[in-house]
Each structure stands twice: as C-alpha cells, then as structure tokens.
C-alpha cells in the first residue's frame, strides 16, 4: 500500500490492545490533531463531520461480514447464520430483506406496547426498591432487555433467563476466542432456532395482531421470507436486541450517576425520557464504533483510500466532538443526530424498539431511585466494540413508591 506523506503523520492506535479505550485522552488528543487515525486494522474516523459523511457513503460497505472467516470459522451453522444477517448483506439482497422486515418494526405497532413496558419497569423496581440498593445489571438491565424481547415476540415472560443465557453465549462469537467457543455458540444458536420454529409455527396456525405475525406474513411484490430466513432473522433479533439494550441501560445509569442534576430533572419532567435516551447514546453509546469497508479506491478529503480498507467510524468520539457538540451532558439541549444506531442503509432496524423501551424505563427509574451512586465494584466489558457494565452495584434513596 502506498502511504502518502500526510497519512504517515496521522496518529496511531493499537485497537487490539485490551487496554485501548475509545474514550481515552489518547483518542481525544488525536481528534484535536486529525480527523482520522491509523490503526492496526485500517483507519479510525474521529470527528463528527467525517463520520457523518462516511456513514452514508455508498462507496463503503458494512465491514463485519468477514469476522468469522478472519478468526478461522468458515463453515457450519454459525458461519451460515452470520452470513445471513441483514447487517452483513449489501445491495439488492439487503434492500429486499429490509423491505420485507421493516413493516414489522412499525412505531405504530410499538405504541400499543408502551403501557406494558412501563408496568414491567415498575415491577422490576418494586423487587429491590425498599432495600435502597441493587445490582442494576442483574436486577434491571438484563431482565428488562430480555422481557421486552419476550413481549415483542409473544413468548411467556418467565422464560427470560433462557433468552438472556442463549444471547450471552452467542455474544462470545464477537470475541477473539470465537473458535474455541464455537461448540457452545452453535448449541445456543440451535436453542434460538428452536424458539423461532415454534413461534413461526404458532403464528402460521393462529395469526394475531402482533410483531411476530407481521414478520411471518411479511410479503412484498409476491416475495416472502423463507422459513430459513425467518428463523435466521429471529435469532438475530433476539441476540441483537438483548445485548445492546442491557448494555445501553447500564451505560445510561453511569451517565446519570455522573450528572445528578440531570437525573433530578428527568424525574421532574418524564417527557424528557426520549431526549435522555438520545443524550446518553451520544456520550455513552454501547456501540463504540461501526465498521465499514471500502468497495473501491477513492480520495476522501486529503487522503487516498484503497479498496478493501477497513474503516472504523468512532461513534462516541464523533458524538462528543467539540466542533459540533457544545456543553456537557444536557437532556434539554438541541443536538445534531448521534451515531449510536449507526446510519445510512444499515441504520439499526430495532431503533424504535430500543428508543421506546428505554425512554419509558429511564424516567420511572429517575422518579423511584433518587440520588443513585455506584456503591461497590462495577465490572465492565472492554471499552471497544460493544461495551457496557456486567455488574453495576448502585445505592439510592427511595423515591416514589410507584
């Protein structure tokens, strides 16, 4: 590869170093000096403007498709499933799936679930409210995320630990030990398929007015999802929806513990729930970067990008870029859009679900858990890829009973 003079002068990150953090001073300093950095896996884009443009640039494709192959997993049920992900498809294949799936994610359909989301949040808080402390991940984030999926799919909510367990195991596939973990991952995948098959079967027999039925009946211009496409998609929805929501809720609590005045404001003005979700995802997104791959050689700003180059769009670094984001953490501020849900053609399918379940949960939490503090040792996933707490002990003053 030819490296132009300006490129070799760019900041450099070792993103495979477990100690590397997308929120570090190193990244802040690099963002001040340059709109991009070199890494051991391609380029990292650091500023808002450039992330925004490259996110939607059609000379780039989604960059995760090759992940299993990079790690020596080239065949078998997991490799097949990964290749089936809508996220890993491009062009007409991607459009076709998106067109078939989109109607099931209608905001209108979701609106009817809001009271159930509120009730669920209250129920979970009831269980620990009087003690004045909790492990936020185990007692709220995990059951809330898993039960929302159960509600969406019409699975009995008591089955949530199974959904959570299967998803967590499949999550191992995004780590570098994927090859060793493969047998476990494939067993979990078979578990998700089993769920999917039962659900598909039941809605074929007895259609209802719900998300699952819409998926099963999805049809456009004489085209339909095949049975395999349906079960692949369902497995992806369960897995993708669980992990990200659980992590993002934990990250939301962290952000508010650091900004107690904003927590009090949210308790007083629950209508700010939606804005709170956006603000949390701007400064503390679980998806710390989005990967793309150049489809052709092209010149962008002052550098030449070769076909095949991996490009990491740093969501949090863009979201906190002082060039466009003034002030600190403020749920009343008008902000340009963040990249917590990606963007462009691959913009997260489930974003209405995530937005609506989190914007119901956060104001209820704010009213009922006053002055939350992190009390004890929190444990965290690495600060790269998808991050979040795995344990988050909180203590708080008791607020509204219900």
């Amino acid at each position: 590869m030819t490296v132009s003079a300006s490129r070799s002068a760019a900041p450099y990150f070792d993103i495979s170093d477990p100690a590397f953090s997308v929120q570090s001073e190193q990244v802040r300093a690099a963002r001040d000096a340059s709109w991009y950095a070199e890494t051991n896996y391609g380029l990292a884009i650091l500023r808002y403007e450039e992330v925004n443009r490259l996110m939607k640039d059609r000379r780039l494709r989604q960059g995760s498709a090759a992940w299993p192959a990079h790690n020596g997993v080239t065949e078998g049920p997991f490799a097949d499933w990964f290749a089936s992900w809508i996220l890993n498809k491009e062009g007409d294949d991607h459009k076709r799936l998106r067109r078939l799936l989109n109607p099931a994610f209608s905001p209108k359909l979701l609106a009817s679930l809001v009271p159930r989301f509120q009730e669920l949040a209250n129920e979970l808080i009831d269980a620990f409210h009087d003690t004045g402390h909790c492990d936020f991940v185990a007692q709220f984030g995990e059951p809330y995320a898993a039960r929302v999926i159960a509600i969406m799919l019409g699975i009995p909510e008591e089955e949530w630990p199974r959904i959570a367990g299967l998803s967590t195991t499949i999550g191992l596939s995004l780590g570098v030990t994927i090859k060793d973990d493969l047998p476990e991952i494939e067993t979990a995948l078979a578990g998700l398929y089993e769920y999917g098959d039962e659900l598909i079967e039941s809605r074929r027999r007895e259609p209802r007015d719900d998300f699952m039925t819409r998926l099963v009946q999805a049809e456009r211009d004489d085209d339909k999802l095949s049975h395999q496409e349906l079960r692949d998609t369902l497995a992806l929805l369960v897995f993708g929806g669980y992990d990200t929501t659980r992590n993002q809720l934990g990250l939301a609590m962290q952000a508010f513990v650091r900004n107690p005045d904003q927590w009090r404001l949210l308790a007083e003005r629950p209508e700010l729930g939606k804005a709170a979700v956006e603000e949390v995802m701007r400064v503390n997104p679980t998806v710390t970067w989005v990967t793309r791959e150049a489809l052709e050689d092209f010149t962008f700003q002052d550098i030449d990008i070769e076909a095949g180059t991996t490009i990491h769009l740093f969501s949090e670094s863009a979201g906190t870029d002082p060039r466009v984001m003034a002030g600190g953490f403020d749920i009343t501020a008008e902000r340009p859009p963040h990249f917590g849900f990606g963007g462009g053609a691959h913009h997260c399918l489930g974003h209405f679900v995530a937005r609506s379940d989190m914007s119901e949960a956060l104001p209820l939490l704010a009213r009922r858990l006053l002055e939350p503090r992190i009390d004890g040792d929190a444990t965290w996933l690495p600060l790269s890829g998808n991050t979040g707490p795995t344990r988050l002990p909180l203590s708080f003053q008791q607020g509204t009973k219900r």
Binding site: R53, K56, K95, R99, N102, P103, S106
Partner: protein, 64 residues
C-alpha cells in the same frame, strides 16, 4: 396523493428509498430526491416509508 419531507430533519438515511423505491431515491451526491405527487398505486409503500423513516420526516397527505 401528496408527499412531503421535512428537509430540516431528514438525515438522508435512505430508508424511505428502500420502502418505496418508485417514490424516493438517494441521488449520487447522497441527498434524498422524491416525487411529491406520486400515483396512488404506491400508497402502501409510501405509508411504509413514512413509518420506517428513523426521524419521522415524511408527511403523507391525500391528493387535492
């Protein structure tokens, strides 16, 4: 039917172009272009487009 997109909120995600390709398109410069008075035969697709737009920028009205 009539369609309008609030340009001040549209972020050119192009989800509308996937839902209703006859009515919405992302031009080569990355900007949204659309047909403001599409034929009624595309009504269902346009409704879907309005539904999936991540920023809910699309307004659908009846003709006349």
């Amino acid at each position: 039917m009539k369609v309008s997109v609030d340009r001040s909120v549209c972020q050119n995600h192009g989800q509308c172009a996937i839902a209703a390709p006859e009515v919405f398109d992302i031009a080569d410069d990355g900007e949204l272009v659309y047909e403001p008075e599409p034929s009624d035969e595309f009504e269902a697709d346009v409704e879907d487009a309005a539904d999936v737009c991540p920023v809910q920028a699309i307004l659908v009205g009846s003709a006349g």
